[in-house]
Symmetry: C2
Subunit: 313 residues, 2 copies
């Protein structure tokens, strides 16, 4: 396995022939009835029962999508809601996904300065060195918040370099009000997210960060719902991987998203979470596969791949 995150990603995207990434945002109340009905997992007021149900659902989902997509994104927010039990479940799923050969992105959006940033980097990008946690793995890459500028990004980038990991800096969100901050423009018309992208871009192109694939281990998170404003970033930073959320439930179309791919088909990861994860609640799949929720997720993943492939033309 390549030691450089960007190279691992490039070969995974080529092998699976898709930029599609499946996002895990598990919510207990939305889990399949057949999982919640299990007597050990049917008590939402019991934290152990809840995380068992979530783990079972996510672990089975990982097995379904592993042959189909290069990577998964696991959103830690949905696990923190279950306190330390949730965090243990998050790391168990990260380890599970890596064992299945998937590239794993921890969507943690951590961000701070100095020593605290270094502590977060250690927590999220360095495999535990504790004798009693030897079989636990951290993700291949994480998302971070670059609000504090280069000093907030470098502790993560340096740890990623050292550990063969990657970092995606949140540059442009896919929500409406993000514009109030991120599109804030200076006298020359340069927007704040462009300035942030520039800071990330400068860190990303340092030669030690470029793998043999030509890509950097430092990428950006760029919302798929603002394609007009942001495709220019594709031209400016050809060596950065872009993680593009918003495909499916958040309203970005396949055409919006594929603009972020380079001509070589690499450079973008298009994430779909709820539209795949809860496909079994969608009449389109339910009518076809009934209570077979695993089949629904599989078909939704295949359909999303086809949709992206068609949009790329």
């Amino acid at each position: 396995m390549a030691n450089h995150f960007a190279d691992r990603l490039a070969s995974a995207v080529k092998q699976k022939n898709t930029p599609l990434v499946v996002g895990l945002d598990p919510v207990y109340a939305r889990l399949p009835e057949s999982i919640r009905v299990n007597r050990f997992m049917n008590d939402e007021t019991d934290v152990t029962a809840s995380v068992d149900a979530i783990f079972t659902f996510c672990a089975r989902t990982l097995k379904i999508v592993a042959p189909l997509v290069p990577a998964v994104k696991i959103n830690i927010g949905y696990f923190e809601r279950y306190f330390w039990e949730g965090l243990e479940t998050y790391y168990a799923l990260v380890s599970e996904a890596e064992a299945l050969g998937l590239e794993v992105i921890g969507d943690v959006k951590r961000g701070d300065i100095g020593h605290t940033a270094a502590a977060y980097a250690e927590a999220h990008l360095q495999n535990p060195e504790f004798s009693d946690m030897e079989d636990i793995l951290v993700p291949d890459a994480i998302t971070i918040n670059g609000f504090a500028g280069a000093e907030g990004i470098l502790p993560f980038a340096d740890m990623a370099d050292e550990q063969g990991k990657g970092v995606f800096v949140w540059v442009r969100a896919s929500n409406r009000t993000a514009a109030s901050i991120q599109d804030f423009a200076d006298a020359a018309g340069v927007k704040m997210y462009e300035k942030l992208a520039q800071i990330v871009g400068e860190i990303a192109v340092q030669s030690k960060r470029i793998g043999s694939s030509g890509y950097s281990n430092i990428g950006m998170v760029i919302g798929g719902t603002s394609p007009e404003e942001t495709t220019v970033l594709r031209q400016r930073y050809p060596q950065c991987w872009f993680l593009v959320p918003g495909f499916g439930s958040q309203g970005a179309t396949a055409a919006d998203c594929v603009r972020f791919c380079n001509r070589d088909g690499l450079g973008a990861l298009i994430n779909a979470s709820r539209s795949i994860l809860y496909a079994f609640s969608d009449a389109k799949y339910k009518d076809q596969f009934g209570d077979n929720w695993e089949k629904c997720i599989e078909q939704a993943t295949i359909d999303a791949k086809i949709e992206l492939a068609k949009a790329k033309g």
Copy 2:
């Protein structure tokens, strides 16, 4: 106890007669020898031993500072480094601090949009409703990252309202490179952090968020090292509590920090972390109290209070 966070904070600051907040940023290697030497706590490669040592140190520190200061800030980054064991320790210390009557700020800097922001808000501002976690408390307030604009702030603000909790939005960092993003200015010279402050300010002054003390439960984190640029925020947002990091080790002086207090002596919390927590490594205290690290922490806390009181004049 007042149900409104801002009112609890106002009465705590009046009662302890200081804006000083002690920050817990525990690092194993910096703990007192007498704690690390304990045979159950002397193995840095064993996660249970490590968190036991950190818990012991922090719990004893909380007891020392509880009679002296209105609030403590617990930095979750230093606990995440110990994975779920660290998170359990973090929540145990939050509960411990609340039992001691302290206002507790969880320095978590979480930030995301939509459902994920709501999930984080639930995780960090709502006491667990699980039957097997009944004695666990979440902090009185948390720090968040407002990079996604109002939609990224409101899920936290709404949960805080509902739970009698507070939120501090990170508006201006105390590090050097933060300026590249946060001082980014538009054609009229308005800086990005001022724009963000304006968004926070609008959310904060909604009448449902103002307590009987006249203060809002929605505040801002504003670095003490940029006082010239930021004291104008004090005038603009008189009803917001400002959490001011950077006093002590990060180089902000007492005079820099007290500018953030209103004339009533309220409205600012001045945080010192390492200068108090590791006072026993400082010759000034070590010479006086020898190996009695608890006495060093107590004296450093008293000294910091005096320094702030003098600066306020």
